[in-house]
Subunit: 321 residues, 2 copies
């Protein structure tokens, strides 16, 4: 790879991926509207030769065409990641995920770029009936607008792979943790305990079981699949995750130990954090492991790494207290 | 049901469904932009008390709200059905199917209508690996923009069912034949032989195997599932088809016999009619049959019924010769 574009490249996962792509020798064009992404996350990257930020929206076809020109791959990580609030803004996932992905694919066609990595999610399995859930699990029924929109994106990406000979790598992530993580359970609990270390309110019954993956492990997996399938047209689908899970109450334990806090924990009750939440996400990762990839950090270590980063980077959470 | 709306209700399947709903006592509001639908198909219906045509586009939110007000169910049959030409207009399926379905769901929310039948397709199974293909087949990879867009619609409909307590009946059709059929293999072959009974050009190798269903059987299945699930929130998914298949060359045989034609048949070759075409579609219909439904016509009889209708209704094909 000599030149690549990362949409959402100033975001949590996108900026970590952009750094690694640059370290491997690529010129990286970041497209980001700096809504959930942050300038701080790309400030080092942008000092490197050939690396630029094109600030703007992925719905802007002209911007995309300028960004993609001359690229070998597009890493499409931009998305509306407000999973939980889909029902409050039911067309947001459609516009920011599904329609945006269509625009990305059209801009690729227009500029002759035919290799795409698409960041999907384990949420597309709805409420799975097989655990760990493999890529070819029984055809699921969607339970969230976020999952539905990501499934729609996968469909578009796959149809372009078949119809226009695109090489597509689709990665279905569990929740990701690590440096620059600014959205999700661990972030919410950390901030809540910084505000008030004596009391913590938890959605659901605290028994929701989740698999997490460390962001550098996630990036390694993406790069492993990408180099494996380079110039191999078709849709290549991979689950990315660890083989372990934690329940919400356990990750709270890691955070309170780290902060030396002893809050009273209040569970709001019910087995789901919100409507459409999955009570258990655990993905079968045999397919990506068969390419030689393995996660390096346990979930516990990924949480600790995240907390270390919070402590060293107050700017990322202090103004949101 | 006292009042219902059928989008695409002047189309092939929609108008047959509208007639049956009216015959069972419902007032039917038809929404159709008369692009592939035809006024002739609803002219009888519109003489019935309470039955009206609201001419316009399903992307028009205000039109939808007026149409849905006071309805018990929305039967969302409007779609871009130009399956084959998806790659020539790659955003059309997204707009006319995915975005349109989002508009329908939003208009339902706005008007308090919470029961929807969605017309989906066996194309969402891509190139299946299990035959007959059940509703919970291994998670497929999409091979056509049409299938991808219908899958996206299913996801939206299911997410609304979970998130807003909608009752959703999702029917995945094989190809449908019968009265008012004006689009597809049998139509193309009939017209071609009317133009030139001595020569017939066939896409692919003529061995593509398809399952077809007679339109009145299709409508009966929809009504069976609808009354079974009335007031049962959630997403209920059904395959609709027959248990038999025909290969393209066999349906050509039925048509040439009917027309007493003896054309030389030219196969263009390859095992697919077009990129993204499925070489074999055969759906497992045990789930809908468990509700007591069975198809009444064989595929051969459905083709013959279609040809009878062509002969009696020259207006439907003559001007397209």
């Amino acid at each position: 790879m000599t030149r690549v574009c990362v949409t959402g490249g100033a975001g949590f996962i996108g900026s970590n991926l952009a750094d690694r792509l640059q370290a491997e020798g690529a010129e990286v064009v970041v497209v980001d509207n700096i809504s959930t992404g942050r300038r701080e996350f790309v400030s080092d990257l942008l000092k490197r030769p050939g690396c630029i930020l094109m600030e703007g929206d992925v719905l802007d076809q002209d911007l995309l065409k300028r960004a993609f020109t001359g690229c070998d791959w597009v890493f499409h990580l931009q998305a509306n990641a407000d999973v939980r609030y889909g029902l409050d803004h039911p067309t947001l996932d459609l516009e920011q995920n599904t329609v945006a992905t269509s625009r990305v694919l059209e801009a690729m066609r227009a500029t002759g770029v035919r290799q795409i990595v698409f960041a999907s999610t384990g949420s597309i399995y709805g409420e799975p009936i097989v655990f760990p859930t493999p890529e070819d699990a029984p055809f699921p029924v969607q339970t969230s607008l976020y999952g539905a929109s990501k499934l729609a994106c996968e469909g578009l990406v796959s149809a372009y792979a078949t119809g226009y000979d695109f090489t597509a790598v689709i990665c279905r992530f569990v929740s990701i943790l690590g440096e620059r993580y600014t959205h999700g359970h661990v972030f919410d609990f950390y901030r809540a305990l910084k505000r008030d270390p004596t009391h913590l309110k938890v959605l659901g019954d605290g028994r929701q079981e989740k698999s997490y993956l460390y962001v550098q492990d996630c990036v390694s997996a993406i790069l492993t699949a990408t180099s494996f399938h380079e110039n191999e047209p078709g849709a290549h689908v991979y689950n990315l995750g660890t083989e372990e899970t934690v329940v919400v109450d356990d990750s709270i334990g890691v955070i309170t130990d780290y902060l030396k806090a002893s809050p009273t924990v209040e569970h709001t009750g019910g087995d789901l954090g919100w409507v459409g939440d999955s009570p258990l996400i655990l993905l079968d990762t045999a397919r990506i492991q068969a390419l030689g990839w393995k996660p390096q950090l346990s979930i516990r270590d990924a949480i600790l790494r995240t907390l270390d980063w919070f402590e060293a980077n107050e700017y990322a959470w202090r103004n949101q207290l």
